[in-house]
Symmetry: C2
Subunit: 337 residues, 2 copies
DNA sequence: CTGAAAGCGCTTACAG
DNA sequence: CTGAAAGCGCTTACAG
């Protein structure tokens, strides 16, 4: 980096003090119109670019949000990133996005880097294995507000924005019941994630509502890898009376279910209905789609998460943050074909 | 932000100077082992976290790269982001990723923000419409090195990393010729992009090599929207003798071509072979895939771009950067099914 | 091996 | 309406 033009350079050129130049450029009311114009003219001609690094240091504020997500290859998270960036841009904030790649250690490292860089706030979708919340607790202790989204932590003392998962699960089930299904399996996400539990509860509630007995062999926990889904499918299809429909934790699992059927039970691929969370753009290209998706509105979740973060950043005293906020974004049933 | 522990706090606790504490923590050889241990002990107990914002300011270096890409929803770019992050992490650098959303004005804004924040270097895949390079020229003038990737600028005085596009195009064509096609159409990208031209040249060269006359009505310029691809398809299929294969600028176009055929020419969907750039992960779920993909190794491109950037950042004098470097990453043909 | 001092570029409370 | 001064937390050349 070459040395750029500084306030001092402009000040000495115009025989003014640095303070006056600073105030003139920031539009301070105390500065005369004439002075402001002289300063702005030179600043423009000399192509003055303020050194934000110096401001950050002086103001003890970086105007930067940290955003931690598991994986950018999952478009669900990219939509949320877009929501966060939208709000941040409006507030003249920068966003640094980091991927944890579902790795706890890496997640901790990222938090550490964000503290060192003194971000003003953090938004995070935790990894599927995160159970120790101490690194996030540390952020809050230091005075950096944190908002969780999509994957809410078990501890309710944190702020979070999530989909209305129970309602979404019930919508999915309602859709399947309406299509006449009674034998509905559920592929739940890792039990370590609270979202998995909540979606499972929605499944159970829907069964109860329709007076269908819960069948334990219809419930499978998967870890998002095709292998685990294939294994679950294989044990399901071996049952005397296999399910006629499957409600999945998310539609990437649905895709693997459909792949499995295409390979091993091609006769069933058009009879077994699959519904899961996540309305992915790529569905438009598929011949065999999930029957429906529960759209979580991840863009909206990003927006809400950022708003919640800004509102807690604007609170003066940390005491006010004691009342944690939980925002639920409604889900929408999207029927395909 | 609460005030954190500073070097001064540690220094006064231990009755040392701030300089000694600073040097102890950075492992300076001049500091005695005993002192280092005492300092590290307190730093650990008090949970000292260095203020990077202060270092950035002091050192006039932010240890941060700016990465500008058109769109994170395109997984091609996400893979490149991962490559850049890999190298950056190794060099202990942060990366701030910003999306231009293919919008020139937004791209200029991002460059401006990156200058203000004094990033140490910038990697960019320009929008499909970028023709005015002055904002990037400005970066370089200020002393911030820039590396372009994927979409290389026309002006050869810039550093860039691109796929070996001509070779990739020829590989695609070679594959189609081997399958017996002679009537091969080309859907080229926006003429404003140099990559479009180069891939087109590969197409022409391959035709020449196989002594096939270029048929002007087989060449269509599209803008990546389904509408423009549909329009091109419709005029193609009206020809007396339509093509038996299509080489596309990229495989998102191929997907739209296949969608078009499924809708309007279902008989041809299995006879017309489509090949394009970009090996997308989602292909595994498709029943009707492109016949093959040209894999651009975008992850590798990200790696190479970051390496090139670091090497120019390490050059002392800007004069040394006058010799711009162009790196070509080989493409690979991937046959589907 | 340790420390005093300067300084990075900015903002702001205060004095005039 | 303008300016002098302090200070944000760190690093580093220099002196001892």
């Amino acid at each position: 980096m070459k040395k750029g033009i500084t306030l001092k350079d402009i000040a000495s050129k115009l025989n003014m003090s640095i303070s006056t130049v600073s105030k003139a450029l920031s539009g301070d009311v105390s500065i005369s119109k004439a002075t402001k114009e002289r300063v702005q003219k030179i600043a423009g001609e000399w192509n003055y670019i303020p050194n934000e690094a110096a401001r950050h240091f002086k103001l003890n504020k970086t105007f930067t949000l940290g955003l931690i997500i598991p994986d950018l290859l999952d478009q669900f998270f990219v939509l949320a990133v877009n929501g966060v960036e939208e709000v941040a841009a409006f507030e003249k904030y920068n966003v640094i996005v980091s991927q944890s790649h579902e790795d706890i250690e890496h997640e901790n490292q990222i938090v550490d880097i964000m503290i060192r860089n003194r971000v003003d706030g953090v938004i995070v979708a935790i990894t599927k294995n995160t159970d120790d919340m101490s690194s996030f607790r540390k952020l809050i202790d230091i005075g950096i507000p944190v908002v969780f989204f999509a994957r809410s932590p078990l501890d309710p003392s944190f702020n979070y924005v999530s989909a209305n998962n129970e309602d979404g699960a019930m919508k999915a089930m309602e859709f399947l019941f309406k299509k006449g299904h009674k034998q509905i399996a559920h592929f739940m996400g890792p039990a370590s994630m609270s979202v998995s539990q909540i979606r499972y509860e929605g499944y159970v509630k829907a069964l109860e509502k329709h007076h269908v007995r819960l069948n334990a062999s219809f419930i499978k926990e998967v870890d998002f890898t095709p292998a685990s889904t294939y294994k679950a499918m294989s044990s399901l299809m071996k049952l005397k009376s296999p399910p006629t429909a499957i409600f999945t934790f998310k539609n990437y699992i649905s895709l693997d279910v459909i792949q499995y059927l295409k390979k091993y039970n091609p006769a069933e691929v058009n009879t077994i209905d699959v519904v899961g969370f996540g309305n992915l753009p790529l569905f438009q290209y598929l011949d065999h789609k999930p029957a429906a998706s529960i759209d979580e509105n991840s863009y909206t979740m990003g927006i809400e998460a950022a708003r919640l973060l800004f509102s807690s950043m604007k609170l003066e005293t940390p005491e006010q943050t004691i009342n944690s906020q939980h925002i639920k974004v409604p889900c929408k049933l999207v029927i395909h074909q």
